[in-house]
Each structure stands twice: as structure tokens, then as C-alpha cells.
Symmetry: C2
Subunit: 363 residues, 2 copies
């Protein structure tokens, strides 16, 4: 079976690596010259709106998916008209707009931080009166890794935030004084079967994910699964969906969804029986889902900007290195490592060593 | 780092899949038109003795290895003169000739079944008088998967065996009434560090490996490691070496070595902390070795001739499917699956289901 993937970044790369053992082949579309999945399949280098390239892409694949949630709506519709496309375009449309996303959560009875759309400078003043400070001003579209947002701590911050972001449609969200951030990765097969990975605790710095640790018995597992199920069923979703939550006073508040495999699920390559990448492909291809159960203790550390020396990483027991073969660049995700261990203590010690290497290598 | 691999079959394919996460890239040489690793790297389709292709291969890689132990000696020497080649050519030369191999075992004090070189029909009669019957007549070179050998059970069998094999240099081996067959996979790094996987119990049918089960506490582990260490040190070996043994009356008898990653180590992709494929690449690339420890219970079942339906395989919990994307053909290894489980009982139940599917699919 040939799988078409819109986007050929590291998520496409890891999907392909998971798919070869299933005798899958791959075709990618990506506008980048140096897309890091390109060596793992046929790659059409073209803008996402290039219909000639999209037509060729559709002719070459049996089923299509995406690894990038900002695929233009027109692209998704063009492909979906010609090939089965999973997840469905409505999941993209929802996830691409923070306001639509929040409204969906509201409609489904999933708690969200207070939010208001902001279209004018005056509306921002009014919105802040409702949310209070601190609050977070975000672009409705195209934000990721902390880009396209500004934290408003005091009234003086509003002008600068508006100057930086005000040219685009915005949303103001009340700041949630969270105890922790968790994500729930769910996968749904074409026949409707559903599976959930253990929820993952995520640590960010400078808006970028640094450390993900699957929680083997989190008290919020069932609640997170219930919320993810509501979204998945509403969107008639197929594939892996990531749902990020804030935890405040022991309760979940929806942050955002990503309609794709997700950085907070990379631990599953070695840490779960069947990885998020393989399960996404199984779902998209109509195969039975694999077990989402954890295999012992694990955690994932991201490499931001540049990766530590491979030999230094390989010297830590239980470390599994995943480099994306991308040029070093500040704030860019260039790789990650998952560490597995037999005990929580061994895990903590290895994660500390791994994080120290990652921090020292960052540029 | 770019790794050159002589041979682009399933072992090359699985090496490449293990190497991409380490940001390795690959170039292959293989005479086959439809080599199954070809989509995972640049592939030079050429005979192994084509010096123009070998020169191009050397120019494209930083370090070279092979996935096929019948690489001609001249090819290995040509490459080794231009690039670091691991394992060393003397390991190939030894493993390619059953007589040299047996002599090495003898020299190193490793027990071997009684053996004699056989050059004439008359010599065969004399050899049989020494080994007794049953005995196994084998070609000294190019045998694999039961090819190039004949079991002699009664005096009448000698003529037919000689007619089939006598045109080539032969070796007669006493038949070992073995209780089981095991293999020991060892890996040695460029700096001389050594690691051993748990020994694996192997079941063959029609001369072809069917089932491999790593033994988590085999009483012969230390003895097997000692013998493998002797060979590895004698050959100044770098990379993964597989050593196959017969077990008779609780003692090890050397059968043969393979100077490469080996079918009886495929379980290690999911069943060990660091797979044989990654460890071979780490060794060849001069990286620290990864842990060879098992991760719980696992076993591997080969798919011979043709593979079962992927959906049926994927429906068994803990099954990890590895298809080689090769056309179906009797006796051809077209894929395998590794099954992992939390207990020996769950493993046995899953292996039984998996083996039944494999048997039903065989052509």
C-alpha cells in the first residue's frame, strides 16, 4: 500500500520509518527544499496549493494523510475528493482556528479557560476586563511552539502585544495557573475502534516542549480519555489525535488539539507496544489497531536548536536516539531521545543526564 | 555519516531502518534488480565484482559493511583498501568456507562435530567410516537455508548425495543428535568493547529457520559467550557476529558462524533494549554499543514463501510485523513477526497463533 503524506518533516520521516515494516511505501508533498523525510519516499517539492503536484500526489497514493496541521483547507479538499484522506478535513479546519477549537470544546461540555475573540484594540481592553490578568493573547491561526502568542501580565503589556499580533484575528485566553500540562493521545481506526495511550506529562520552556513523561497510572486518565472520545466522535476522526490539557486544582482544562501524530507521543516508539506512528498508519490503512500499553518506564527529551554528540547520547544506557537530519537552527526541533528504564529511579537518573546534554547542545 | 552496505536484501533494509534515527544515510551495492532495501538509500545495481560500481560505492560512503556473507573476497579487499570495512575481510574468508571455519573452531578449542574434507567419491567412503552414519555432506562454500547439503542415513544414500554435490569441494560432518539448536549473537565495537545478546533457541524446518526464542536465563549462556569471544578476538572482529551451536547432552558443539546480523537476532528489534541492527551500526560507526538486555519475553516467527494477511497479523496483540516487500516465492524469506508478551504463557499462546498463520500462508 502506498501512503501519501502532506508534509515531509520529522513526523513524516517517523511515519515512514514505522510504515516500511508493514510493506508500505510513501509519497510526500512538501514545499521545503531540504525536507527531512525526502530520503524515505518519493517527494514532490511543491507549494501545498500546487494542483499539478497534488494531482500527481493523488495518482501515486492509495490513501492520504498529513503530518502538518496547517495544510490549507483547499489542499485537504482537493486531496479528499480524489483519495481517502484521514484524519478528515473538518478536523483540520477545527484545529487550525483556536476560536473554532474552543467553541467545539464548549459545545462538547469540555472545560476550557475563559476565552474571547479579539478583533480590535478596543475589544482587547474589554476582553481583558472579562478574563482578568494574566491572560494570553494568541493568533487564531498558524501558532505553534509558542509562536503567535503573548502573555499579558499587566495593563502596560497590551499595547506591545497588540502591535506584535493585532494584524491577525486573535483570541484572548484567561491564563490558567496550572500545576502541570498533560496530553492524551488517542487513535481511532476506520472501523470506529478507539485506543488511548497513557497520558503524558509535558514540560515546556520558551513555549517549546522539552520533556514528555508517560504517566503509568494518572488519576486524570479516564477523564482525559472521555474528553478525547467526545472530540473524536464529533469529528468522525480516523488516525491519531493529540489533546493537550492544563491541570489546575486537579481538573482538566482543554488547551488545544492536534489532528496528527504529536511530539508528546514520540516516547511511544520504544515506550509503548505499538507506537503512535504505526498506529496512525494502521488506522489510516484500515488495519486493526495495535496495543497502546506502555512497556515499562520511559520519557522523551527534545533536542532544540542542535543535537548533542551522538556518541555521548549513545553512551547513556537505555537511550534511543532519534535525529531528524535537519540543519541546526535556534528553536528548531532537530531530534529527540527516548530513554527507557526498569524503574522510576533509573529513569529519573537517565533523564537528568540526557536533559543536561540537550541543554548544553542547545543553540 | 554515510554507511555503505554490500547487499541490499532484508538485512540491509533493517539496517537502514535502524540507522536513519542516528542520522545515518545509506548506499548499497546489489546485483538484484528488485533489491528490497533499494528504496531506503542510493542503490548501485551491479555485480559484486564490478570495480566501477565498487569505486563509486567507496566514494559515496564513509565506512562500509556487508549484509551478505558470500561477498567475493576480491570485493571485500577492493573496498577495504579504500574505506574502513567492518567486519574484517578475514571474517568473511573464514565464514565462507566450512572447512576453514571448522579448523578455526578446532584451533580455538571449541568443540565441533567430527568433520573431514571430501574431494573424491572414494574419500567420501573413507570419511563415512570415520564419522559413522548418519552424517551430513555439505558444500564447503555457498550453502545456506539447507541448500548445498544432504543427510546420509544409510550407505545407499552416498551415491545420490555425491551425484548432487560432488562437483564442488565438500565436507562431511558427523550428525549431532542434538536436543536443541541455539545461537549466540555478539557485538564488538571499534574500541574492543564486547556485548552479548541472550542466547536464542532456534527451530528449523526443511533447513529454514522458523522460530527463534531468546532464552532469558539459559544454562549455556556463559559457555556460548566464551566461545563467541574466542572467535571474535581471533578475527579482530567489529560488528555483530552470529554463532550457531548444536546442544547435545547439555554441551555446545559449534555449527557455524555468520559474520553479519542474523535472522535469529531479528527478535531484538522489539525484544532487546538496542537491536542487533542498531548495535551493528553503532559498532561499525565507532559509537558506544547499546544494551543487549532483553525487554521481557519475545519470540520471532519467519514467513517463508509468502506472508500472512497483514490485518490478521496485526490483530494479534503484541505482534510486530516486518515485511520485506519481496515477491512471494517458495522457500524465500519474505518477512517475520516478533511477538512480545508480559509472561511466558501469553508468549506461547501468541506464538502458536502466529505460527499457525505463518504455516497457512506458506507456499
Amino acid at each position: 500500500m502506498k501512503i501519501g503524506i502532506l508534509g515531509a518533516g520529522q513526523l513524516g520521516r517517523m511515519l515512514a520509518l514505522a510504515g516500511y515494516p508493514l510493506a508500505m511505501r510513501f509519497v510526500f508533498v512538501d514545499p521545503a527544499e531540504d525536507a527531512c523525510a525526502a530520503s524515505l519516499g518519493e517527494t514532490l517539492q511543491a507549494p501545498y496549493l500546487d494542483e499539478t503536484a497534488l494531482q500527481a500526489f493523488c495518482e501515486r497514493c492509495d490513501v492520504a494523510t498529513f503530518e502538518f496541521e496547517n495544510v490549507p483547507a483547499h489542499t485537504a479538499e482537493f486531496v479528499a475528493a480524489r483519495r481517502p484522506l484521514h484524519p478528515p478535513p473538518q478536523a483540520l479546519a477545527t484545529a487550525q482556528d483556536r476560536l473554532n477549537e474552543k467553541k467545539l470544546f464548549d459545545d462538547l461540555g469540555i472545560p476550557v479557560p475563559r476565552y474571547l475573540p479579539v478583533a480590535t484594540r478596543q475589544a482587547l481592553d474589554m476582553a481583558v476586563r472579562i478574563t482578568g490578568l494574566p491572560a494570553v493573547l494568541k493568533t487564531r491561526r498558524m501558532g505553534y511552539d509558542g509562536k503567535g502568542q503573548a502573555v499579558l501580565r499587566k495593563p502596560d503589556d497590551l499595547d506591545a502585544a497588540w502591535a506584535a499580533l493585532g494584524a491577525q484575528p486573535l483570541i484572548l485566553e484567561a491564563f490558567v495557573p496550572f500545576e502541570r500540562e498533560i496530553s492524551c493521545l488517542a487513535v481511532r481506526g476506520r472501523g470506529g475502534e478507539l485506543a488511548f495511550y497513557p497520558v503524558v506529562e509535558n514540560r515546556h520552556r520558551d513555549g517549546i516542549l522539552r520533556l514528555s513523561t508517560p504517566q503509568l497510572a494518572d488519576p486524570l486518565q479516564a477523564q482525559a480519555e472521555d474528553y478525547a472520545r467526545r472530540v473524536i466522535e464529533k469529528l468522525d476522526y480516523v488516525g491519531v489525535l493529540a489533546f493537550e490539557f492544563f491541570v489546575a486544582e486537579g481538573q482538566l482544562f482543554a488547551n488545544e488539539i492536534a489532528p496528527r501524530v504529536h511530539n508528546s507521543g514520540h516516547w511511544s516508539i520504544e515506550g509503548a507496544v505499538c507506537s503512535q506512528f504505526e498506529n496512525h498508519l494502521r488506522a489510516v490503512a484500515g488495519l486493526p489497531l495495535g496495543s497502546t500499553a506502555a512497556r515499562g518506564h520511559s520519557a522523551m527529551v527534545n533536542f532544540i536548536g542542535s543535537a548533542p554528540d551522538t556518541a555521548a547520547l549513545a553512551a547513556i544506557e537505555g537511550v534511543h536516539v532519534h535525529l531528524y537530519d535537519k540543519a541546526a537552527k535556534p528553536k528548531r526541533k532537530v531530534g529527540h531521545a527516548t530513554v527507557t528504564a526498569e524503574s522510576g529511579e533509573a529513569l529519573a537518573e537517565r533523564v537528568a543526564r540526557l536533559s543536561a546534554l540537550a541543554d548544553a547542545a542547545e543553540i
